[in-house]
Symmetry: C2
Subunit: 451 residues, 2 copies
């Protein structure tokens, strides 16, 4: 049956080769799926054809960006056709006057950034994987990134979406204008829906002029709690940093052993980045330095791009460096109200000490989003089971502090079993109803989000 796809799309756009099924069969969650074919649509019409084919023959589809999802949301379901959007990577329109850009879903976030930068503009959401991940994937997961504290997440930049419903009908939702209240907000249902409602085929994004200047500060502390207090003091003084990143001792240690940067004495550190016009940035930078000093921290100020890059290098090295501790990371991205960060961080350290399992915490402290990495070797069954059990305790604590179990990664497969901890019965009913409304044959990325 799959061979009929060839005649629909053209040979270069369909593959059932072993190697392709393998390469497109997993994502950054390390979970493996078993697709029956991979397709590479080149136009919206190609997506329509694939969707109709899938609908007529009851075959599941998996829309795929770059497979950087850490939750398994881009792992193909059993017997599914992968719809890889990587060939749809053009910028269809760049409108500087009205500050928006229209892109195809397969464009890499970093490639879009580069093009915008040539015009003095930028697109704020900057997930760590920005050099690989696609805008379509960013929209499907409502991706964040360090700059979210000041600029918000993907949702805040998606103006208009063109998408293909499971039966092949095309919808357009949202507006190119800054405001619009015309009917229900379908657009925001698609954002963060993890490819389960429609295949996103074209995206209109807001863009912003680049700031006049950027300054990066590195604050180190010989204790854990002052860094949490510093976050709170900075924000409540009215300063809105562009980024406010946190690393605990474990994160620092792991980075140091991977690529030494001279931070090894610190118990915690913050990277604070400010942007705006020269005078305000200078003033805010001085205020931040005073706050850090009050809390007995040390601070370095980097004003040029080389010394800024040096500071970020340590932060960006974490994900790779983690694997020097153990071969498997159980990676959660909880969020707590900002004032609860100190309590959460202390809780995580205690949990690690109690269980004897490494927990490395770092992340976007400015918006309360902490990446918690439970490091364990997969083959050590007993410790792996213990490690898995910690997840539930971390989520319980997170929710008791008024938090949420995922800030930017979403639910996918790995968090589906926990979603009921946060979302009540009535709300789950509505979500199931929405899934049925868009995809009553349950063909689009089935088995994700819902437990």
């Amino acid at each position: 049956m799959i061979s009929r796809l060839d005649s629909l799309l053209g040979e270069q756009q369909v593959s059932t080769r072993e190697a392709d099924l393998l390469c497109y069969g997993f994502d950054a969650s390390q979970i493996k799926g078993t697709p029956v074919a991979v397709t590479w649509p080149e136009t919206i019409n190609d997506i329509v054809k694939i969707s109709r084919f899938s609908y007529d023959h009851d075959i599941a589809l998996l829309p795929r960006g770059a497979g950087t999802a850490t939750t398994g949301s881009s792992v193909p379901p059993q017997g599914a056709i992968v719809v890889s959007l990587e060939r749809m990577h053009d910028i269809d329109e760049l409108n500087i006057e009205d500050q928006y850009v229209v892109v195809q879903p397969g464009i890499i976030n970093g490639a879009l950034q580069k093009e915008l930068s040539r015009h003095g503009y930028f697109y704020p959401p900057d997930p760590s994987s920005l050099n690989f991940c696609t805008i379509g994937g960013n929209v499907a997961t409502n991706a964040g990134g360090p700059r979210a504290i000041k600029y918000g997440v993907t949702r805040n930049y998606v103006k208009e979406l063109e998408a293909v419903l499971p039966d092949g009908r095309i919808i357009r939702t949202g507006a190119k204008t800054i405001k619009s209240v015309v009917g229900y907000d379908i657009k925001d249902l698609l954002v963060g829906s993890e490819g389960t409602l429609a295949i996103i085929a074209r995206i209109t994004l807001s863009i912003l002029p680049e700031p006049e200047t950027i300054v990066t500060l590195l604050a180190t502390f010989t204790d854990l709690e002052p860094s949490g207090k510093a976050v709170f003091k900075i924000i409540s003084s009215g300063i809105v940093p562009r980024c406010l990143e946190f690393m605990d001792r474990e994160a620092i240690k792991v980075v140091e052993s991977y690529s030494p940067t001279g931070l090894s004495d610190s118990e915690s550190l913050l990277i604070i980045e400010l942007d705006g016009d020269v005078k305000s940035v200078q003033r805010d930078s001085e205020r931040v330095v005073r706050i850090i000093h009050t809390l007995k921290g040390e601070v370095k100020v980097a004003e040029d791009s080389i010394s800024r890059e040096r500071i970020w290098k340590a932060r960006r090295a974490i994900p790779a460096a983690l694997f020097s501790i153990a071969d498997t990371k159980i990676n959660e991205d909880i969020v707590v109200p900002r004032s609860q960060i100190p309590e959460m961080i202390v809780f995580l350290r205690r949990l690690s000490e109690e269980s004897g399992i490494s927990i490395v915490s770092f992340g976007h402290a400015g918006d309360g989003n902490i990446h918690v990495n439970i490091m364990v070797n997969r083959e050590d069954e007993e410790r792996y089971t213990t490690a898995k059990a910690l997840v539930k305790r971390i989520f319980e604590k997170t929710l008791s502090l008024g938090g949420t179990i995922s800030g930017e990664h979403g639910i996918g497969i790995t968090k589906a079993e926990y979603i009921n901890m946060e979302i009540g019965h009535n709300e789950m009913d509505l979500m199931r109803g929405i899934k049925r409304l868009f995809d009553y044959k349950n063909l689009l990325n089935p088995g994700k989000i819902f437990p």
Copy 2:
């Protein structure tokens, strides 16, 4: 049957008196409805009771804030029970640390502002009716206001909603944290749904620290087009004003005759308000002055609150002053991409000249949102019909410029017949499906949004 409501709620919370049915029977659209009872719930549990009653007896409900809707969205359907939320007006929690406030739906926007101001905070959305309209109503219509250009609309501030479904079940959606991606975005479906999906019972809103300083500039031009150009030049220079309001000659004239402020020679004017720290505001203010001068406009700078108030007085006088032209305004709130404002404004003036009917345009030029007021006497049937016909032409032009037919008022009754001009068949199908999912008995504010 209605008398049973008394025993459910208590006598003080139900009325079927003529005077109440009249007072709660209409909204700012001047359309009149015919409710059978008015209720005043005091707790979420009261709303649950009313909803169950309505559900069991198939009686329609109309959730009502202050009735300031201009589209008829708060006009009670035939035979409906009005659920006036005015008694649920408390602040349940003010959390300065995490910058949010939890309020009941009936709190007046201005009352919330006043309380926040005592703590050095503010809630950005500021519809013109802020001294009367309720936050619940603001959420139901996704209200905007002059500050939307810099700070966004209601949707951008709603973190969490507690709402009662038509069958009386309570849902909680969203999160108190800054980020969250856990399942589908139900919260944003409720925002802007005009009371047709659920009754909003509790709202968590983001709040922001008040800016250090505010400066207001009044720019006047002896021609129409330079004001449109000025808007574009200000924004594209990277300045983000707090407000950027526009008034055309007709708006100026009508305000002058109502309460003279010495602006009568101008063909158009802009009110530009800047906020932030003293130095950046000063710098941006100088840049704005230079832009206005380049375009041969005159500009006055108001740095204290008294002279600022004088400028805003003219802007705020418009809605009332309009009725000195004619007894009926057909009030639309179109949005076009910012670069299309000059073309739209010229189009509107030509349309007025051609038809001989007064069209007064003013509004939030900074985000492309123009309030178009077609002024006509209701009794002059012929001219009224001509005036009504202009609406369609204005919407056609708006959509051809890439715009949207409503930026902040929503659809309600008055725009329902036009919604298909903007929303396609497939998208309307989804919206109808969502309505059925939440309210399959069609009891909650029926007859609104859908044509």
